[in-house]
Subunit: 306 residues, 2 copies
């Protein structure tokens, strides 16, 4: 069974962990968000991709929610002593990945190929691709202008109210090699429990990806990232209320109009009417069993739709 | 007393240490070689500058001869696990400096200004400038072509026989801001015990620097990097024999024709006839006292020439 998963960061990565316990990993391909990529110290950083790599590779610092377990901070410490600005934190091990990626990109290896190769090197049994190899950047529109995603998210601690989201480069960005094939070969398309606007939105902003999903011949299922109208972590709920008019399952489904046939959401959100098939379960992915259960619910939804 | 010192890496840095014990550090400016600069993982690396910064800042790994004391290697380890080539080693702390430099260069701060600022941040009492802010790169001509300096020096362990040296960019490279002023205000110009061809050569390849020294009104003294015709470390002796016809004091002096008035060399080289004033002492800079003695000999030479 081939499953294509659109995913952002932590929530998506945990969902994929559960999925890999529920189906043959050889058939799973993750299409990862690159809209929150940025340059730090001249190095290309792909926060969502790296969260996937570290989480699925079993080396993530799960408690902190980003970066690697057993991380050290010698480089950043020295950089700051020498006057560098370091609002975006990179540990020493994390830097190692960024150095390897910088070298690969400089030699002309596309980001998607680097990502796929790093996933193999980390022993990850699923394939991980980036949505695009082109420059695609998420900008957050705030009161008096707009901020690159990570400046808003990390430096400003996602406090400034969001008036809108813009995907720089989306008009010309093409899908990375393999992405359309993966979607075409999929028996099931899953939108992972990630922020619809800034994690999944940039993937769907690549028009051929959106079109491929809209014109699918197989079931597509989304998993809501919200529980009882609240984000487990991060700004998804506030963003949904402002930009989608609410943070219930129907609002999540409205973000994926025409792109999904079912929505998995938490029982804390109660019974609601949806344009798509609702599947109610417990979606908090606190441990491996919970992650697997959420994945299995998505798989059941798909089976019921066939 | 203002002293301008032209310097390469380890030998030069140790000499400057001695000099700072012998004169008021406020008057000392080091003009550092950048010919062996390179890009590693997309980061600008200035090996000679960093050897000066680490040695004079008291954080160098003196035993290893390069990099920082108490260094860790987490980043490089991960980078290699992910398939990166890492023949040029960068420890975690060392990387911190490179990240800070990358950020500063990206923001448009010239290399000379970054270097001066880092020297202050490391508590170094002398001023350190780079010879040029322009791209100037040393190429080593070998049997079947040429190699960038560090590929020859580090990756090939300086084994391939040197047929010549070329300084890419020298025709157009200008002195960094401050360099000509420092040479003009100097009461003494010293060429540190560094490799004449690949450490001092690139500095003198910047024509206005060479001209300023050639037209000096103050004494200029070089310290030979060779002891008994041998390099303390590195390929200077082999290079001298091939490219200067020998490795004695006269051959060293010939590299600086018209640019020096005296040469300090080791007593192991015996008594030789020179075009410039000879000053014979023990030049092995094994400890602080020895370093200071070599520096004082250079100062005496200058005093005698006034």
């Amino acid at each position: 069974m081939n499953v294509a998963v659109l995913s952002g960061g932590v929530g998506g990565a945990r969902f994929v962990q559960g999925l890999l316990d529920a189906v043959d990993p050889a058939g799973v391909t993750v299409i990862a968000n690159v809209g929150d990529d940025l340059e730090v110290f001249g190095l290309h950083v792909s926060p969502d991709v790296d969260t996937l790599l570290y989480t699925l590779g079993g080396v993530a610092d799960e408690e902190r929610g980003w970066g690697r377990a057993g991380e050290t901070w010698a480089a950043l410490g020295v950089a700051r002593e020498l006057g560098a600005e370091g609002w975006f934190q990179l540990g020493d091990k994390d830097l190692g990945l960024h150095l390897a990626r910088a070298q690969a990109l400089e030699r002309g290896e596309p980001l998607s190929a680097v990502t796929e190769r790093f996933a193999r090197a980390l022993g990850i049994r699923a394939r991980i691709l980036t949505a695009t190899d082109d420059r695609l950047r998420t900008w957050i529109q705030v009161e008096n202008g707009e901020l690159p995603f990570q400046e808003w998210f990390v430096r400003e601690r996602h406090e400034p109210e969001v008036h809108g989201v813009r995907f720089e480069g989306a008009e010309t960005a093409g899908p990375a090699p393999g992405v359309l094939e993966v979607l075409g070969d999929a028996d099931l398309i899953v939108i992972a429990p990630s922020n619809p606007f800034v994690s999944i939105g940039p993937i769907l902003a690549v028009e051929p990806i959106r079109t491929a999903i809209a014109e699918r011949h197989v079931p597509a299922v989304a998993v809501s990232p919200l529980i009882g109208g609240r984000a487990v972590k991060g700004p998804a709920d506030r963003m949904m209320r402002r930009l989608a008019g609410g943070a219930g399952p129907a609002h999540v489904a409205s973000c994926y109009k025409g792109l999904i046939d079912a929505l998995v959401y938490d029982k804390a959100d109660g019974e609601v009417e949806l344009d798509v098939r609702p599947l109610v379960t417990e979606t908090l992915m606190s441990d491996a069993a919970a992650r697997r259960r959420v994945a299995e619910t998505a798989l059941e939804a798909a089976a019921a739709l066939r």
